[in-house]
Symmetry: C2
Subunit: 466 residues, 2 copies
């Protein structure tokens, strides 16, 4: 059966469209951080019709398919399982269309186009797609993951900027809702079913996106705060006054910053005395500096906040050279250099972030005294990476400790703090068991029902939503 199916794929997609040699498969079998499996073959269609043909052939053969974009996800949703039976459907060759309508401020783009490629094309017209990420994913993968990023506070996530999609269902049916409509209230907004569902209901072959005018200037400051309550006060102060401009509110705990200073020689220590939290505040505007001076506005607002009683702010540093973003961007890799780690990507109501952080810290102190918390994240959106580290070699049963910590922290987040076990990374094999544990039965029933239309044989994706 295998050969026949691969032969059918070659007949439909051409020789370039199918990879089946072990050496060619390797890079499609390994995820960015998690996920390592074995692929039966890789199908690489370059058109929507090719995607449809691939899915028809696989569906007829009863073969499972995992759609794959740039494979930059962090939950292993874009790699095959260990069975060696799954076909990887790579969108990398479906990357020709970038159809910008300048007056409409929208673009229709193929699912396989990289975010960086899209932004290069948009930049010529003064636009960008403002879902700003560390990685360089494909647009289809961004829809399937509903990526958020560091500028969500101002621009929203993919869902907020998505106007239409073209998807291919498991049996090869093409469902096109590729309009550029900002207002369209005609019943069920069915494109929502394909946002954040990791390709389980369909393969996103094309998307219509609203794009944003690029900022003409930004202003960035790093503010030392003595505790989480002070961070929240600062958030309230900048948001109330500067809501139109506030494009990032990123928070780093002392331990996370310290890891950067120790592992990145090029990043200077901004504070004389390390505060409990460093807060990176960024303003952005399309207005030129001659009309509005963002630096001046930011300094004035922060100065007023510092003069206010009980503000808990120790230092305010204005950024002249993007140094503070360097600090922020190096946190993740520095933590990985610093020891072994279990990473978290959780969210709660913003007002509960200090209490959640202290709850986790207290739990670790009591039950796991040799680990430490390195928290950082997007407090403006309620997101925090409550990463837990320990010295390499210090723990015998690493897998056991990781499982214990995940269980404990996720349970606190979801059950005690009404939070999310996956703020922005999405769902996949990496967190499938937490999805299973924390998802409402009614939602799973809905997923089974939607799946019965989109993927009745359960062949699509490497995640089980129903």
């Amino acid at each position: 059966m295998t050969d026949a199916m691969v032969g059918d794929l070659v007949a439909a997609l051409g020789e370039r469209g199918v990879l089946s040699e072990a050496g060619d498969l390797a890079r499609y079998e390994q995820g960015w951080r998690y996920g390592h499996g074995r692929a039966r073959c890789v199908a690489r269609p370059s058109t929507t019709e090719g995607v449809a043909a691939t899915l028809r052939i696989c569906s007829d053969a009863g073969v499972r398919v995992v759609p794959q974009g740039a494979n930059t996800g962090l939950v292993a949703a874009s790699t095959p399982d260990q069975s060696g039976a799954m076909v990887v459907l790579s969108l990398e060759r479906l990357n020709q269309t970038i159809d910008l309508d300048v007056e409409d401020r929208t673009v229709v783009v193929d699912g396989g186009v990289l975010l960086s490629t899209l932004n290069e094309a948009l930049a010529e017209h003064g636009y960008w797609f403002p879902v700003d990420l560390g990685a360089d994913p494909q647009i289809g993968g961004m829809v399937a993951t509903n990526t958020g990023g560091t500028r969500l506070l101002k621009y929203g996530d993919v869902r907020h900027n998505l106007l239409g999609v073209e998807v291919v269902l498991a049996d090869g049916r093409v469902v096109s809702q590729l309009n550029r409509l900002r207002k369209n209230n005609t019943g069920l907004d069915s494109k929502q079913l394909f946002v954040g569902t990791a390709g389980a209901f369909g393969v996103v072959t094309r998307a219509a996106l609203a794009v944003a005018p690029k900022p003409a200037q930004t202003a960035t400051a790093l503010i030392g705060c003595r505790d989480g309550a002070a961070v929240l006060e600062l958030l309230g102060a900048v948001e109330q006054g500067l809501a139109d401009f506030l494009s990032a509110f990123e928070v780093m705990g002392a331990a996370a910053m310290d890891a950067v200073f120790r592992h990145q020689q090029a990043v200077r220590r901004p504070f004389d005395e390390a505060p409990a939290y460093g807060v990176l505040v960024e303003l952005a505007t399309t207005l030129p500096a001659g009309v509005v001076d963002l630096d001046e506005i930011l300094v004035a607002r922060l100065g007023a906040h510092m003069r206010a009683a009980k503000a808990g702010v120790s230092d305010v540093l204005l950024d002249a050279s993007d140094d503070f973003w360097q600090l922020r961007h190096h946190v993740s890799e520095s933590l990985r250099s610093d020891g072994e780690m279990v990473a978290f990507d959780v969210s709660v109501a913003r007002s509960r972030l200090p209490a959640l952080t202290e709850r986790v810290r207290a739990y670790l102190c009591e039950h796991h005294p040799r680990v430490w918390l390195c928290d950082y994240g997007h407090w403006g959106d309620g997101g925090s990476h409550l990463n837990v580290l320990w010295s390499r070699g210090d723990v015998a049963d690493v897998a056991g400790l990781k499982a214990t910590l995940q269980e404990a922290v996720y349970t606190m987040v979801v059950r005690e703090f009404d939070g999310s076990f996956s703020a922005e990374h999405g769902v996949g094999p990496h967190n499938q068991r937490f999805y299973d544990a924390f998802t409402d039965d009614a939602v799973k029933q809905l997923c089974r029902s939607v799946g019965s239309v989109c993927d009745p044989r359960g062949l699509l994706g490497n995640v089980q939503l129903g």
Copy 2:
């Protein structure tokens, strides 16, 4: 059976909770503009449990139920049909909770709370819910309709500001996803199923909303444009430069403005010579005038645009006293005073609005010489009300003409211009047949599938999505 069921409802909700006298029913049987039917009774629960009990009782009896908010919708989705067999489920007494978390900038609010009541409560803390409408709907109805309004350009529609919902399914099951999470990527975002689906899948009993800081200042200008292309150029100019502040871009055709001047004595004529289009541009910011002078910024930007070649702008008038909003707000009623009318609420890609408008105008000239087009709308979002008028008494078969015009205009919008037959009013009996004609079979199949979980007997709502 009737009496027994009404008796059960009284037993569950108390005497105040059920209305069954003809005199009491009248105001629940008549929609704001369209929709007039007969109710079997009106259930008015004051708690989520009461809503659940109502739906259980009706479901057990096989009785259809139409949820009703403030009944301000424009597609007859909140009124019962003519059968006299439907129960109206009014949310008007489910209006106690307005639970604001100031630091989180979110509020959890009962479905029956009026928008005006919510905004009064928010104003004390400098916030508002920025989905800005002419009517005063209830929050649950706003979710079920996904209302947009005049400030969508800056703030988005309900969907963009909705964090969580509590809904009751047709059989009385309560599904609570009432979190306040701005980031929550854990698979299917099932609350989307209840947004804009007119209560067909569940009754929205509570919603968690992100709220916005209230602007400290606004600036408004009215700009005369010689044609639609000039309007689009103006949109590009203000958006590119002033995107952070742009809160409205409303367009009125000459005929629509003229109707206001003739029927509203209090509204002064702003232009010496009427242009083809009057464009109302509004900027808003939370920054005080001492930091940013919005009037000055707006004048400078518009001045630069006027000096640019071929801008097609005839007049720029700065608004000192909100007069221009008076002009805009009086359009709808003035048209109704002006003659008989068939109203449209359509959207296309913004860049196609001039071509669509000319297409409709040319069609009317050729086929219906005694009618005229009075277009106005939210060009910033691609929405336009392409209303068609004629002198009262001038047309014998009014119903026939309305049906002909609807068929023709909707077909142009959807088939020729990839647009929407309902930009913001939603779906209901008023436009059911256009929903039936223009909705993809795959989407209807999905709706049937979702309905099979949420409402297996098809008892909820007065619209048929599947």
